[in-house]
Symmetry: C2
Subunit: 145 residues, 2 copies
Amino acid sequence: MQAAIDEARKSLAEGGIPIGSVIVHQGRIIGRGHNRRVQQGSAILHGEMSALEDAGRQPASVYADATLYTTLSPCAMCSGAILLYGIKQVVIGEHHTFLGEEALLQSRGVNLQVLHDATCTGLMRRFIEDHPQLWNEDIGEQSEP
Amino acid sequence: MQAAIDEARKSLAEGGIPIGSVIVHQGRIIGRGHNRRVQQGSAILHGEMSALEDAGRQPASVYADATLYTTLSPCAMCSGAILLYGIKQVVIGEHHTFLGEEALLQSRGVNLQVLHDATCTGLMRRFIEDHPQLWNEDIGEQSEP
């Protein structure tokens, strides 16, 4: 999880949304990434998606044996990617500032562990306070005009 | 749908998986794309994801009023992206060669229209016959060794 937090901090330092993720297979990080909405004007590069893209094309057997670490509860898109690739283990930094599709993932047999990590929560809480519109855009919510 | 089929054909001509997608808002195509697994070594650029990325950062109000056209039934990842951004209208070329998360989308209030388009089905049927391993990789399935 520390590597995922490092990715979140890297995003914050770049002026971006502080969410990071890494994918671990057989004790080795095979993909790492952070949210790139601000940095690349991307609608799809959430932290988890960036880590999946960084890992590149992998056979199903690798995903089945991998653990995804993410600093924040995965949204519908990232949860869908987890289901598509059959990742069975997901470790979540926190789900207090945003609760993603954890119920859907669990209903499909994905094993979730929520760490309630104060660093992850603090990063998001400050960011949402400072940039509410940007955050709403990232989760597909309408901001008040 | 013709524009989505054009994208699928473009992918095939590039040696890629023949799935294309466009996003239409107020009668205008705001994003178009096709599967880029082969072309860019991408694990996340399915047709629908490519179209979302091409559309760029949009406010929730645009997604809410947009229609996504895709030549093939959307997988879990692309369905998750549809849910994240609150796209309410999805037109699907076919769901005979692959049935995605249509039930999930409908349970969340997304309006689906399946065209049973013979061109879309033919493109995929031939591709899957010719490249079964590549197709299995794209949908997170294990190929027989």
